[in-house]
């Protein structure tokens, strides 16, 4: 972990723990966060555990015993994991290119930012058009592929999610990579490391934060995604968020919906904990 990040942690500690008067600065946010987020979410989750006035796990039992819900949870994890892997690798590579190889870093960052300026729903509708029958993509691919149409498939959802999450990964990684002192890489080369060895032994472990933060962000965004599966997945490929939406919107089943929401949170947090532990051991092995 870099010196810089330690300095940052120290500063954070001194703001939160050290100086009492600084806490006043945090007060408005803490109040707003409590009133507008913690309380409603607490209320919602309490519905998951309360049925007819008694505390029960009946909602969770129903989720775990219904194949439909199990499949939806597994599909959500599968799609999110695939999205995370694709986004992490391609986002890291692009960020690496932007920071270390490109001659016009600012222009490229602006281009990445431009993709975020159009509303997600509109971007996803763009994919709907592109994936539909008779689309230009189908015409182009027709000599090679018989039936191109991938609309209403998991592949389409993943493509939509990758496009949605990629800028987040890129921005996080560019920030971390820009802070790596290039003379460290030069020092490694000078001591006999090839470009690739220098990357593996220095750049990658020093950008561990980007992999962890970026990867977690992408995974969390994917797990809770709604628009992309709603428009690109169709009825057969629902993810957890869409299911919650229809449970409440169509049948008013708040209890199951809340339990499903709680499951989403716990599953995401659990998988992320494992992810962080694995990445830290794999890439940060030089530091105990």
């Amino acid at each position: 972990m870099s010196l810089r990040s330690y300095a940052g942690a120290d500063r954070l500690r001194s703001i939160v723990g050290g100086d009492r008067s600084s806490l006043v600065l945090l007060l408005p946010l803490v109040v707003a966060f409590t009133v507008l987020f913690v309380v409603p979410v607490g209320q919602l989750f309490s519905r998951a555990f309360v049925l007819d006035g008694t505390i029960t796990l009946a909602n969770f039992r129903e989720i775990l015993s219904t194949e439909l819900y199990i499949n939806i949870i597994l599909r959500t994890i599968r799609i999110s994991a695939l999205t995370t892997v694709i986004t992490m690798v391609s986002g890291y590579l692009l960020a690496y290119y932007i920071v270390f190889r490109s001659s016009n870093k600012r222009l490229l960052l602006l281009l990445v930012f431009v993709t975020m300026m159009v509303d997600l729903v509109i971007r996803i509708f763009g994919w709907v058009v592109a994936f539909s029958r008779g689309s230009i993509l189908e015409i182009i691919t027709s000599p090679f592929v018989d039936n191109f149409s991938i609309l209403f498939s998991e592949t389409a959802i993943v493509i939509g999610l990758v496009q949605f999450t990629l800028p987040f990964m890129i921005f996080v990684t560019v920030g971390v990579l820009s802070n790596i002192d290039n003379t460290l890489v030069e020092a490694a080369r000078d001591l006999g490391a090839t470009r690739f060895q220098a990357f593996l032994r220095l750049t990658l472990p020093l950008s561990l934060n980007a992999v962890i933060v970026g990867g977690s962000l992408v995974f969390a965004l994917s797990m809770s995604s709604f628009v992309s599966p709603q428009l690109l997945g169709g009825g057969r490929n629902r993810m957890i968020a869409n299911t919650i939406f229809s449970l409440i919107g169509n049948s008013g089943e708040w209890g199951i919906a809340a339990a499903l929401g709680f499951t989403l949170l716990v599953t995401t947090a659990g998988i992320l904990a494992v992810f962080v532990a694995v990445v830290t051991t794999l890439l940060g092995s030089d530091r105990p």
């Binding site: 870099s2 002192d181 003379t183 080369r189 001591l191 006999g192 490391a193 060895q197 030089d286």
Partner: protein, 355 residues
């Protein structure tokens, strides 16, 4: 035997010429110091030798073999960076072992080699520490150890002492000299600090504006500078534009300050009547009375006094009769003179050089 050969090397960055057609040779076991103001091309020279930059024109060879096609990792040349560039996520031991691993050195020898090199740089029991917990001086020694553990042919030092305070810097200068002596490594050291250059170097190379002004042993470049830049860059100096007026009893007579003041020199002028007169402040004698027969004796007034501990540095304004003629000499003296006091100054003509 020559270690490194720089043959007509030019390095351009866009419109900027950082190094302009320079050629020189660095000998085996030599402590070679490149000194110059910032932007003179000294750091670029080092990066060219290390392989981080490639020459726009010209060629560099090591032990007679051209190395221009070799990547930095394939050159038997190691560098100590200005900010040390220690790997923050690795312990001191891992930092030093890094090069051994990258060069596939037998793992069984790692431990003893790390211990030996730490002993060489004067540290022990530090392998488990992380760089951020060490002092600047310790980090400096680790950076040195990390390069030396590979027993390189050539050691490059890029302003390694510039981040240390003066006392530590002086101690590290002595240490650097000792380590270079013990290992016999060819050292190329870059600095903007002229004192450091003079005290460390077997030979000093003064660079300015991408070209070499002079190369030679420290005493030679200090006392016999080849041009005004070298004279003024290294230490304090008295330099004046002068016109040759003729010769008298084997000495050259020169006029300075519109020929109102005459200075004689043992040196013979080469090329043209316009010369630069040069002498060091330590050669200027300040006295109440100087024998009238001595040439180059002037009336003067003490204009300023600067006590630097080991000496006192005076600025004296020269006067021709009652007129101040605008000339000011810098002089070192052990005696106490008050500001405003009238003195006589004398410059022995054998110490007056013409550049």
């Amino acid at each position: 035997m020559s270690s490194i050969n720089i043959n007509s090397v030019t390095k351009e960055f866009g419109d900027l010429t950082a190094v302009n057609d320079v050629s020189y040779t660095i000998n085996d076991d030599e402590f070679f110091v490149i000194v110059g103001p910032s932007g003179c091309g000294k750091s670029t020279s080092l990066r060219l030798i290390a392989g981080f930059e490639t020459p726009t024109r010209g060629s560099i060879s090591l032990k007679g073999e051209p190395i221009d096609h070799l990547k930095p990792e394939d050159r038997d040349i190691r560098m100590v960076f200005q900010d040390y560039a220690l790997f923050p996520h690795m312990s001191v031991g891992d930092n030093i072992t890094f090069g051994l691993k990258m060069n596939n050195v037998d793992p069984d020898t790692h431990e003893s080699r790390v211990a030996d090199v730490l002993d060489l740089v004067g540290l022990s029991d530090i392998e488990e520490s992380y760089p951020e917990t060490l002092s600047g001086g310790q980090q400096q020694r680790i950076a040195l150890a990390r390069a030396l553990v590979l027993e390189p042919n050539v050691l490059l030092l890029d302003e390694p002492l510039s981040n240390l305070d003066k006392n530590l810097r002086d101690r590290m200068q002595v240490e650097l000299k000792r380590i270079q002596d013990e290992t016999g490594v060819t050292a190329i050291h870059v600095t903007h600090n002229q004192e450091e250059a003079l005290s460390l170097a077997d030979r000093v190379c003064v660079m300015n504006d991408g070209v070499i002004e002079q190369i030679g042993p420290p005493e030679e470049v200090y006392y016999r500078p080849q041009n005004r830049f070298v004279a003024e860059f290294l230490g304090d100096s008295n330099t004046f534009s002068a016109t040759v007026l003729g010769s008298d009893a084997g000495a050259t007579v020169l006029g300075v300050a519109d020929s109102s003041t005459r200075i004689t020199s043992d040196a013979t002028p080469s090329g043209g009547d316009t010369q630069t007169v040069f002498f060091r402040p330590e050669h200027v004698r300040v006295a109440e009375r100087v024998s009238e027969e001595d040439p180059n004796t002037f009336d003067a007034t003490v204009a300023s006094r600067l006590f630097t501990g080991d000496k006192i540095k005076y600025q004296v304004d020269l006067a021709e009769g009652a007129e101040d003629n605008g000339l000011t000499f810098t002089a070192f003296s052990d005696s106490q003179w008050k500001t405003g006091q009238s003195v006589r100054v004398q410059v022995p003509q054998e110490h007056v050089l013409l550049l």
